[in-house]
C-alpha cells in the first residue's frame, strides 16, 4: 500500500469519529444549564422578549436543524458566547491558548526527558535495583492525584524553601509580559533578550509543568520499558549480541533506534492524560490557560467555555492520534500493510 493511499484511508476514517464527537458536543450544549436565550436577553427581559430571542437564535427549531446550525457555526469558528466575560468563546480561547500550549509543551518535554530514559534503563537493567526503583515510581506515579502533587510541590518549594514564586499565573507581579511573538512567554522573552521576564516566566512554569510531567511520566516509562523489553528479545538484537558487538553499540545504537515506534505510541496515549490534567493543574497554579478558564466557568454556570473546552480537547486528541499514525507510517512501512 502506498503512503498516499494510507493517509487518505486514515483521513476517511476520521469522518465518523468527527461526526460522533460533534454530536456529543451538541448534546452537551443542549443539556448544559443556563438557557442561552435567557442569558442573551438579560435579567430584566420580559417573557415575550425571551421567546423572541429564542426564535431568533433558532432554539425553537427541531433538534436536527439545531444540530446543523451548531456544526455550521463550529466550522466557521463560532463556539458561542461566554456569559461571564461577555465575549465570544473563541476570542477568549485564542487569548488563553498560548498559556496552555506553553504548559503542555514544557511538561511533555520534561516527561519525555525523564520518563524515556527511565523506561530504557529499567528494561536494560531488568530486575535490578534500577528497575525496582522505576517500578515503584511508576506504580506510585499513577496513583497520585495531580492536583495534590501540585499542592505538595507548592508547599515544599514555595512555603518551606521559598525558591518557587507564588502559584499565581505566568509572571511575577512587577514584570510586564514580553513582546508577543509566539505567545509563549519563555520563548518570547528569550528571543527579545528580556532576561528579567525570561527568568520569571521560567520560574513560574517550573512547578506546574513538573506536576503535569510527574502525572504522565509513570505511564510513559512503563510503556517505554515494555517496548524496550520487546526489542531486546528480537532476533536482530540477539544476532548483534552473537556477533560480539559491544554492549553500548547494541543497546544504544541498534535497539534504541527501533524504540521510536513505541515512544511515539506512548506519547499519543499520554497526550490525552496531559490534556485532562491541564484543567486541574492550571486551576491549582492559577495558570491563565483554557483549562482554568473552563474550570472557572463551572462555578459561574457559564456553559460556553465548558462545552468548547471539552470539544477542543477531543479535537486536539484526534489530531495528535492522526499525527502519531502518520509518523508511524513513515517510520515503519510495515504498518501500512495492516
Amino acid at each position: 500500500m502506498s503512503l498516499l493511499f494510507f493517509i487518505v484511508r486514515r483521513l476517511a476514517l476520521l469522518v465518523p469519529t468527527l461526526v460522533g464527537v460533534s454530536v456529543i458536543g451538541f448534546l452537551l450544549t443542549y443539556l448544559l444549564p443556563g438557557n442561552p436565550a435567557l442569558v442573551k436577553a438579560g435579567p430584566m427581559a420580559t417573557p415575550q422578549y425571551v421567546a423572541e430571542m429564542k426564535h431568533r437564535m433558532g432554539l425553537d427549531q427541531p433538534l436536527y436543524v439545531q444540530y446543523a446550525r451548531y456544526v455550521t457555526g463550529l466550522v466557521h469558528g463560532d463556539l458561542g458566547e461566554s456569559s461571564s466575560t461577555g465575549r465570544p468563546v473563541l476570542t477568549d480561547f485564542i487569548q488563553r491558548l498560548p498559556a496552555t500550549l506553553e504548559l503542555t509543551v514544557a511538561s511533555l518535554l520534561l516527561a519525555v526527558l525523564l520518563g524515556v530514559p527511565m523506561g530504557v534503563l529499567s528494561a536494560v537493567h531488568r530486575d535490578t535495583i534500577i528497575d525496582h526503583f522505576g517500578r515503584v515510581f511508576s506504580v506510585a506515579g499513577v496513583a497520585m492525584p495531580s492536583f495534590w502533587t501540585g499542592l505538595i510541590l507548592i508547599y515544599v518549594f514555595f512555603y518551606l524553601l521559598g525558591i518557587a514564586p507564588a502559584p499565581l499565573g505566568r509572571l511575577g507581579p512587577a514584570i510586564s509580559p514580553p513582546v508577543p511573538i509566539t505567545g509563549l512567554y519563555t520563548v518570547d522573552s528569550l528571543i527579545s533578550g528580556n532576561w528579567h521576564a525570561f527568568e520569571s516566566s521560567l520560574a513560574h512554569l517550573a512547578l506546574p509543568s513538573l506536576t503535569l510531567a510527574i502525572s504522565v511520566m509513570a505511564p510513559l516509562a512503563r510503556m517505554v520499558r515494555a517496548g524496550m523489553l520487546e526489542i531486546l528479545e528480537t532476533d536482530y538484537i540477539k544476532a548483534a549480541w552473537a556477533f560480539g558487538l559491544p554492549r553500548r553499540r547494541v543497546i544504544y545504537g541498534d535497539a534504541l533506534r527501533n524504540l521510536v515506534v513505541p515512544v511515539v505510541t506512548a506519547l499519543g496515549v499520554v497526550f490525552g492524560f496531559l490534556m485532562a490534567g491541564n484543567a486541574v493543574v492550571e486551576s491549582v497554579f492559577g495558570w491563565p490557560g483554557i483549562g482554568n478558564y473552563a474550570v472557572k466557568a463551572l462555578t459561574l454556570k457559564d456553559s460556553g467555555p465548558i462545552q468548547s473546552f471539552v470539544l477542543f480537547v477531543a479535537l486536539m486528541c484526534i489530531l495528535v492520534n492522526l499525527l502519531v499514525d502518520l509518523v508511524y507510517s513513515v517510520v515503519d512501512p510495515r504498518i501500512r500493510i495492516g
Binding site: 496513583a143 497520585m144 462545552q307
Partner: protein, 298 residues
C-alpha cells in the same frame, strides 16, 4: 531444593532466560504484595462500613476552640478552619470514595459486556455503528468528558456514578468485543450453534465465561482510575459538595491554606487517595498474574 540449585547456577549468567526459580520467586513476591493489598481492601471496606463508630469525632461538628490545629494526640491528623477533626472526616469520606468507584465500575462492566458481547458476536452493521459511537466517546479524555457531562446533568451521587460509568464503558465494550470475535470462531462455539442453541444462550452461557477473566483485571485497575476521576471532579467543585466530606473535596478545602503553611489539611486526604488507588492497582496486577499467564512476563 532442586529449583534453588538451578537458580544458583543461572544466577550469575545475565543473558540466561529467567529460570523457574527466579520466576517463582518474583511471582511469590508479587502475590505476597497482592495478598497484603487484598487484606487492605477488606480493611478499607470494614472502615467504611463502621465509619460512624470508628470516627473519634463528629465529622461535621465545628469546634471554635480547636481551629486549624496541627496534628496532636487529641486530633491525630489535625483540624480544619472550622475546627472539624480531619481524621473523622477522612474516615467518613471513605464511604463515598469507595462506593462511587465501585458502583460505577460495576455498572460500566455490566453495560460494556452486554453491548460488547452482542456486538462482537453479531458483527455486521450493528457492530459498525456501536464501534463508531465507541470511537467518538473515546476521543474525549475520560476526565474531560466526565467534567462536561457532570456540568450538564448536575452533580448528585447518582449522576456522578452514571457519568464515571459512561466514560468507562468503551474500555470494557472494546475488550469484550475483541474476545467475542476470537471466541465465536472456536469449535465449541460452532458446535453450540450447530445443535441449535439460541443466540443469547451461546453468547452468555457458552462464550461469556471464557471472555470474563481479563475483564475482571481491567475492572480492578479501572477502580483506581474511577476514584481519581471522582476526586478530581470534587476538587474542581463538581462532585461532593461541602459540608459533606470527600477526599478530593477535602484537598480542595485545604488548597488555599497550603501557601500559608497548614499542610495537614491537603496532605492526608491525598495520602488516602494515593493508598487506595495503589491498593486497587496492586490487586489488579496480582489478579492479572493469577488469571492471565500470558501477561506474566510484563
Amino acid at each position: 531444593m532442586t529449583t534453588e540449585i538451578a537458580g544458583a547456577v543461572y544466577a550469575d549468567s545475565r543473558a540466561a532466560p529467567e529460570t523457574a526459580f527466579v520466576s517463582f520467586r518474583r511471582r511469590l513476591l508479587r502475590n505476597k504484595l497482592s495478598f497484603v493489598a487484598i487484606c487492605a481492601i477488606v480493611l478499607l471496606v470494614v472502615i467504611a462500613v463502621l465509619a460512624p463508630l470508628i470516627a473519634p469525632f463528629d465529622p461535621n461538628e465545628p469546634d471554635a476552640n480547636a481551629v486549624l490545629q496541627r496534628p496532636s494526640w487529641a486530633h491525630v491528623l489535625g483540624t480544619d478552619d472550622y475546627g472539624r477533626d480531619e481524621l473523622s472526616r477522612i474516615i467518613i469520606a471513605s464511604r463515598v470514595d469507595l462506593l462511587v468507584p465501585f458502583v460505577s465500575t460495576l455498572l460500566a462492566l455490566l453495560i460494556g459486556s452486554l453491548i460488547g458481547s452482542l456486538s462482537g458476536f453479531r458483527g455486521g452493521w450493528v457492530d459498525q455503528i456501536v464501534m463508531r459511537i465507541v470511537d467518538a466517546v473515546m476521543a474525549f479524555p475520560a476526565f474531560v468528558l466526565a467534567m462536561g457531562l457532570t456540568a450538564a446533568i448536575g452533580s448528585s451521587i447518582t449522576n456522578l456514578i452514571l457519568v464515571i460509568a459512561v466514560t468507562q464503558v468503551p474500555v470494557y465494550l472494546r475488550q469484550l468485543r475483541a474476545e467475542m470475535l476470537r471466541e465465536r470462531e472456536m469449535e465449541y462455539a460452532r458446535a453450540a450453534q450447530t445443535i441449535g442453541n439460541p443466540t443469547w444462550r451461546i453468547v452468555f452461557i457458552h462464550l461469556f465465561p471464557n471472555c470474563f477473566p481479563p475483564l475482571i483485571v481491567q475492572a480492578t485497575l479501572a477502580m483506581g482510575f474511577a476514584l481519581l476521576t471522582f476526586a478530581a471532579l470534587s476538587y474542581i467543585g463538581l462532585g461532593i459538595q461541602p459540608p459533606n466530606s470527600e477526599w478530593g473535596e477535602m484537598i480542595s478545602e485545604g488548597a488555599s491554606l497550603m501557601v500559608t503553611g497548614q499542610w495537614w489539611l491537603s496532605l492526608f486526604p491525598g495520602i488516602a487517595i494515593l493508598v487506595t488507588v495503589l491498593i486497587f492497582n496492586l490487586v489488579g496486577d496480582g489478579l492479572r498474574d493469577l488469571l492471565d499467564p500470558r501477561m506474566r512476563s510484563q
